[in-house]
Symmetry: C2
DNA sequence: GAAGATTGAGCGGTCAATCTTG
DNA sequence: CAAGATTGACCGCTCAATCTTC
């Protein structure tokens, strides 16, 4: 059972990542990591401090600076230092980033549907959710740089 | 729901990986990838061709040669070219590899229990398995270098 | 001194090109 | 030419050290 779960996890991450890369087209660099980051910024129109962003995304905090560097070069996000506390860097999505996200979202949602939900009954989904939420809530604070929410 | 699943996947991989690293102690390089590889070789005492090994492990085929290089340096596995077909390289676990696997297995199983099964009821496990098996069987052939089994 | 973020060095993964054997 | 595996070059991730601002 564990083996099945972990194989699904690796395979889903691998395949969904590839789908985003291929759909990124000219724009090189597209990955689950970019998608995840944009999706979070999309929910915070005023932008997020690097720190807070780091604690929400799937991947490790490590390397976030460079990911944002590349996405900034690609024009998808911007940086801003608030006057209130000049240690902080707020990251925000650009107009271009929102457009790119919308395109990627179509691809990504189709992939999730096709590779995951397509194989689950409604009652499977309902059965999965509560235990997985417990697992998530248990795991979150164990990861470096995360806080229980 | 999808978000919960994918967060669990990333967090579990991250945490279980760290646990193996820390328990590897002196032996640097320990990771889920090493564990996964040794576990597969353990089930094939006569060894496996690189190719076959590649199609069974969690991670990508890519870089397998170098992973085996490092594990060979660490004394955990060995290579052998069968006379029958000298294109092939068979990888096998050494005695030392089996010992290391046994130690790692204790740590890893404890982690899986603590971070995953601890939060599931027996009926959750039974409910999860069939749909996840469908997902796995659907995904497997989509990954590069894999064949449906 | 602590919090927030960046930098540099090193390691590991990835893809395409190559080598060897059938 | 095909199958099996390795190599080299590049890129991304990771950790610890550093810089800036509070």
């Amino acid at each position: 059972m564990w083996r099945v779960f972990i194989e699904c996890a690796f395979a889903l991450i691998d395949i969904l990542d590839r789908e985003l890369q291929e759909e990124g087209g000219a724009e090189a660099g597209w990955s689950l990591r970019w998608y995840d980051l944009l999706a979070h910024l999309d929910m915070a129109p005023e932008g997020l401090p690097m720190n807070e962003l780091a604690s929400q995304i799937l991947a490790n905090k490590s390397g976030l600076t460079r990911v944002v560097d590349r996405m900034e070069e690609a024009g998808l996000v911007g940086r801003e230092r608030p006057r209130a506390d000049r240690r902080v860097v707020r990251v925000f999505v650009t107009r271009e980033g929102l457009d790119a996200l919308a395109a990627a979202r179509a691809v990504h949602h189709r992939g999730i549907q096709e590779h995951f939900f397509r194989h689950l009954q409604r009652r499977d989904v309902e059965a999965l959710r509560p235990p997985l939420e417990k697992v998530r809530d248990h795991l979150q604070p164990l990861r470096p740089g995360r806080v229980s929410r």
